[in-house]
């Protein structure tokens, strides 16, 4: 696809999503997929670099590499679920078309996040405290994720075929579980500026589900350790 063609598809995605959905159903799916993969890779690399700039140095490159992997991996693992769950209930679905739809929706979300990078950089510029930066990032990602799922929901509702609602609910569930776990596995993205060392990925400490259940247990006063781990030299 030519550069102008790529720009045209991205412009269509941002300006006229109904037209984009028509193009997915009737156009060249391979070309759309290629454009969307490139869009996700570039946009999320920019977002990752902006998040990494909060710590600086090698974390800029680390986050710029990892964030595109999270989104592309989530799409690759989630799209077959949409096709299979819909097909089980009689929806006429094709894996390539569904993959193009999921990729396009995620590319739209990635572009929205890319539009938020000035806010991330502003947070860095005014030395926004770490936890506030975390909250702001979560809000931005939540808005982008909601916009992506809304686009998929709209596309499926236009079909009006059997099983589209169940397929959408199933996709949302798989999407949230897989996306959350993949993002959790490849963390950290946002690191405190004073952190001396930055690992590319943290050691496997369990799943996101394990962490949530552990946090809930701790909130109820049930601890599996005698005390919190301390740094060398700290008084207990």
């Amino acid at each position: 696809m030519s550069g102008a063609g790529t720009g045209g598809v991205i412009d269509l995605l941002l300006r006229d999503r109904a037209g984009m959905l028509t193009r997915i159903r009737t156009g060249n799916v391979t070309q759309i997929l290629r454009t969307m993969i490139a869009t996700i890779a570039v946009a999320m690399a920019i977002v990752g670099a902006a998040l990494g700039s909060y710590r600086g140095d090698e974390q800029i490159a680390y986050a710029a590499i990892k964030l595109p992997l999270v989104l592309l991996g989530t799409a690759a693992l989630s799209a077959p679920a949409l096709t299979a769950l819909g097909a089980a209930l009689g929806r006429r679905s094709r894996l390539a078309t569904d993959l193009a739809l999921v990729m396009s929706a995620l590319a739209f979300g990635a572009l929205l996040l890319c539009a938020c990078t000035p806010l991330i950089l502003l947070g860095r510029a005014i030395d926004l405290p770490y936890h506030r930066m975390i909250v702001a990032t979560v809000v931005m990602f939540a808005i982008a994720g909601f916009a992506s799922l809304r686009m998929i929901g709209h596309a499926l509702s236009l079909e009006q075929g059997p099983g589209w609602r169940s397929a959408l609910v199933g996709l949302c569930t798989v999407f949230i579980l897989v996306g959350g776990q993949l993002a959790w596995s490849l963390r950290p993205y946002l690191v405190r500026p004073r952190s001396p060392d930055v690992p590319f990925v943290r050691e496997v400490e369990g799943s996101l589900y394990d962490a949530i259940t552990g946090a809930l247990r701790s909130a109820r006063g049930i601890y599996l350790r005698d005390s919190a781990p301390l740094r060398e030299g700290d008084e207990p």
Partner: protein, 171 residues
């Protein structure tokens, strides 16, 4: 003689034989995920045995009960509906195996693996029950209630057997 109208079958996403093969292969794969985490190979064979065994044991009851309500489709239509529902189970599970494998392999606790595998099997089973209900297309309240109660009983039996299997594999 009064003829009960039979609903036209919904389109199948895959040939009947392939979707039934997926109904067997899907539970094997889910059993494999559990086996990989626990080191016990029993779930590989036990998971498909639970699926087909429970359906074989409870499906005559479905035919008898909905026929007794006066709204039941003929035996061949019920058998076809059960086949379609099993096929739908296999197709749905085929789409959930990959995410389930990822979620299980990226966790360290066996509880997470059991939860993920149970959700995949349970989700596919619920979709299969919905497909069965659509295929049977019963029109009276009593036939609908019978189908619903049968679905709850079948899911309950299979769920209990699966839970026992998973707990034994972990312990």
């Amino acid at each position: 003689m009064f003829q009960i109208p039979v609903a036209p079958p919904l389109p199948l996403a895959a040939p009947r034989a392939l979707s039934l093969a997926l109904a067997a292969a899907g539970p094997v794969a889910i059993g494999g995920i559990l086996a990989a985490h626990t080191g016990v190979i029993a779930p590989l064979a036990a998971a498909p045995a639970i699926v087909f065994g429970v359906v074989a044991a409870t499906s005559p009851a479905l035919y008898i009960a909905i026929t007794a309500t006066g709204d039941g489709p003929p035996l061949a239509a019920v058998a076809r509906a059960l086949g379609s529902a099993l096929g739908a189970f296999g197709i749905a599970l085929a789409g959930l195996v990959l995410p389930a494998a990822f979620l299980s392999l990226s966790s360290v606790t066996a509880v997470t693996t059991i939860m993920v595998c149970s959700c995949a099997l349970g989700g596919a089973a619920v979709l299969a029950m919905k497909r069965l209900s659509d295929e049977l297309a019963t029109r009276t309240l009593s036939a609908g209630v019978v189908t619903f109660v049968w679905a709850i009983a079948t899911l309950g039996i299979a769920g209990r057997l699966w839970w026992n299997l998973a707990s034994e594999a972990v312990s």
